[in-house]
Structures are given as structure tokens and as C-alpha cells.
């Protein structure tokens, strides 16, 4: 259970140590990818709480979401369509949706435990 947290810390440390800088014009793609990744993570947590968690689904969702989000935003930049806005809206909505579901599940479980 602690391994993912350790992995998160290691990733953060690595990122700060490597001191990568994303150029200004690609910054939005990274942010889209990050948003997609976060959405996948919360989706995974929700699925875990709902006991429908599937590792393959999770893994493929993570990879494809981040790549497609960034890629679509990139293509949108080429076409002059602000696709990254759509991605932000979609992933943002889903993120908050997942968060709400997680909150409800945790809350109902806590109430169940209380009773």
C-alpha cells in the first residue's frame, strides 16, 4: 500500500533533481498530460473503492489518456482549434466527478462503520 506513495515521492524528487524545463510553448501539453494522468489516478482510486479495479484497464487508461490528451492538444494547435481547452474541461469534469464519488463512498463507509 505504501509503495505507490514512495513511488510518488521518488518521482517528485527525480523531477526536481533532474531540473527539466519544458519550453513555454509545450507547457500546455504537459499540463494536459498531467491532468489526464491525475484523472486516471482518481479514476483508479474510485474503481478500487468500487471494487471494479482492473490493472490493465488502469494502465492502458493512464497511458492512452495522457498521450491522447497531449497529442490531441498538439494537433489542435496545428489546426488552430483549441482542443486542449476541451481536454481540460473533459478531464476536469471527470476529475471532480471521481472526487465526488470517492467522497461519497468514503463517507457512506464511515457512516456504516459508525452504525
Amino acid at each position: 500500500m505504501w509503495l505507490p506513495l514512495i513511488g510518488l515521492v521518488v518521482g517528485l524528487a527525480l523531477g526536481f533533481l533532474l531540473d527539466w524545463r519544458v519550453p513555454q510553448e509545450y507547457s500546455s501539453y504537459l499540463s494536459i498530460a498531467l491532468l489526464a494522468g491525475l484523472d486516471t489516478i482518481f479514476g483508479g482510486i474510485r474503481a478500487f473503492l468500487e471494487r471494479t479495479f482492473n490493472v490493465r484497464l488502469f494502465l492502458s487508461g493512464f497511458v492512452s489518456n495522457t498521450l491522447f490528451a497531449a497529442g490531441l492538444a498538439f494537433i489542435g494547435g496545428f489546426l488552430g482549434i483549441d482542443l486542449y481547452l476541451a481536454a481540460i474541461v473533459a478531464f476536469g469534469v471527470r476529475l471532480f466527478n471521481n472526487l465526488a464519488v470517492i467522497r461519497r463512498i468514503v463517507l457512506s463507509r464511515w457512516i456504516n462503520q459508525q452504525e
Partner: protein, 247 residues
């Protein structure tokens, strides 16, 4: 089953590591962001216009101050030429006898010769019906000798001799320009005293005046003051001739 869950946590760890990496990079990129431009093109255009105008104004300022600087420079050099002109004017005024001057020189007094000397030399007969007074020609001759031997300025009884000074007899008295002078005559001469004295001796001034029963007393003086010419002189009948190349 245990293996599977370990595998899952492992995968989750990798994924969270990737997420962490992305987070870190994103945070790093946004921590010291290049100050992003939030203004529109139109705003930027007006700002650019404003700055260009400011630039133009500053350039105008620069040229203005440069011009001012140039003016000051030329004024400075004109000032110099002004001082040169003033010097030249002062020199000319000195030469023309319009200012009092001071320097080394001699004082000549033409006085009556003592009686006994005259008696001793001439006996009783010679004196002195004819040459008993000094006339204008004597004075002109004397002054001419002095000028010829380097006198810079001469005054006779306080009247400055200048280039247009006339010395003439009017009745029994000598008149210099418009003023009469009375004996004893006193000439103040600026110049090299030795040269002037030896010139007097060489020209036989003493003997000449002796014939008129006069004695010339010469005396060296330092800081001899010669007054300025008092005459009112107006310039008439003459104009400077403009030469070519004269500005």
C-alpha cells in the same frame, strides 16, 4: 493472488512515480515562469506606439540638447574672439593716445639758461634778442627726434601728442591743437631712457636750445605717467577701404 497484488502495487508505484515526475517538471516550469504576456495584440500595438513616441521624444530631446551644447560651444569661441577684439581695441586706444599710459622714460625741461653761464661764455654781446624764446618749430623738431628714436608716447605740458596733433605759434605763444602752452616747457617721453638721452646728445639738442639761451634738463624717470589725449576728435572725410578677403 498475492503475487498479483504485489504486481499491481508495483505498477501503481511506477505510475505514481511518472505522475510525480510530471508534477515536478510542471511545477518547475511554472515556478519561475517567463512573465507571460496577457495583453492582446492591440494593447501591445498601442503600448509599442507609446514607447515609440517616447523614444522619438527622447531623440528630439537629445538633438535639442546637442544643439544647445553646440550653441554654447560657439558662444564660447565667440567669447574668445570677443576678448581678442577687446585686446585689440585696448591696444589701438593705447597707440592712438586715448588712454593714459605709464612706464619708463625721461622728462625734458626747457628752461632759461642761468645768467652767469651765459655771461661766461658769450660775454655781454650775444644775448638774445632773437632766440630768446622757443618756437613751434623747435618743439616739432625735438618731438620728431624723440619719436624717431623710439619714443612711445610724448606729452608736452600735459598735452598728449598724437598723430594728428598740430603744434604751431599763435601770436607769441605755442598752441598744441587747441590749447596754448606756456614756458617752461616740460616734455614727458616714454621710451628707453638711455636711447633717448643719447639720441638727444647725438642730434645736438642741447646746443641747439643753447643758441636760444635755453637749457634742456633731462631726467630719467620710472613709472612716468603720460595722460590721455583730451581733444575731441571726430572722424570725418575718411572711410576704411575694404580689401578683398577682409571680412
Amino acid at each position: 493472488m498475492l503475487q498479483k497484488s504485489r504486481k499491481i502495487t508495483f505498477i501503481l508505484a511506477i505510475i505514481s512515480a511518472i505522475i510525480g515526475l510530471m508534477l515536478a517538471v510542471q511545477v518547475r516550469s511554472n515556478l519561475n515562469p517567463v512573465p507571460s504576456e496577457s495583453r492582446t495584440i492591440a494593447e501591445l500595438r498601442t503600448a509599442l506606439q507609446k514607447e515609440l513616441e517616447k523614444h522619438k521624444n527622447l531623440l528630439a530631446d537629445i538633438s535639442k540638447y546637442n544643439q544647445l551644447y553646440y550653441q554654447y560651444e560657439t558662444a564660447l569661441s565667440e567669447d574668445e574672439s570677443l576678448s581678442v577684439m577687446k585686446e585689440e581695441l585696448a591696444r589701438n586706444r593705447k597707440m592712438a593716445g586715448m588712454v593714459a599710459v605709464e612706464g619708463n622714460g625721461i622728462v625734458l625741461r626747457i628752461v632759461d639758461a642761468p645768467r652767469h653761464l651765459q655771461q661766461a661764455e658769450d660775454g655781454h654781446a650775444a644775448p638774445l634778442v632773437t632766440g630768446s624764446y622757443v618756437d613751434d618749430e623747435d618743439l616739432r623738431w625735438l618731438i620728431n627726434i624723440l619719436f624717431a628714436n623710439g619714443a612711445q608716447a610724448i606729452s608736452v605740458n600735459g598735452h598728449r601728442i598724437v598723430s594728428t596733433t598740430a603744434i604751431r605759434n599763435v601770436g607769441d605763444v605755442i598752441q598744441i591743437d587747441t590749447r596754448t602752452i606756456q614756458p617752461p616747457y616740460e616734455l614727458k617721453v616714454l621710451g628707453e631712457p638711455e636711447v633717448l638721452l643719447s639720441a638727444l646728445k647725438l642730434e645736438g639738442v642741447e646746443e641747439y636750445f643753447h643758441l636760444a639761451n635755453k637749457q634742456v634738463l633731462a631726467e630719467k624717470r620710472e613709472n612716468l605717467i603720460i595722460p590721455a589725449n583730451q581733444e575731441q576728435r571726430t572722424i570725418r572725410y575718411m572711410k576704411p577701404v575694404k580689401e578683398k578677403g577682409d571680412s
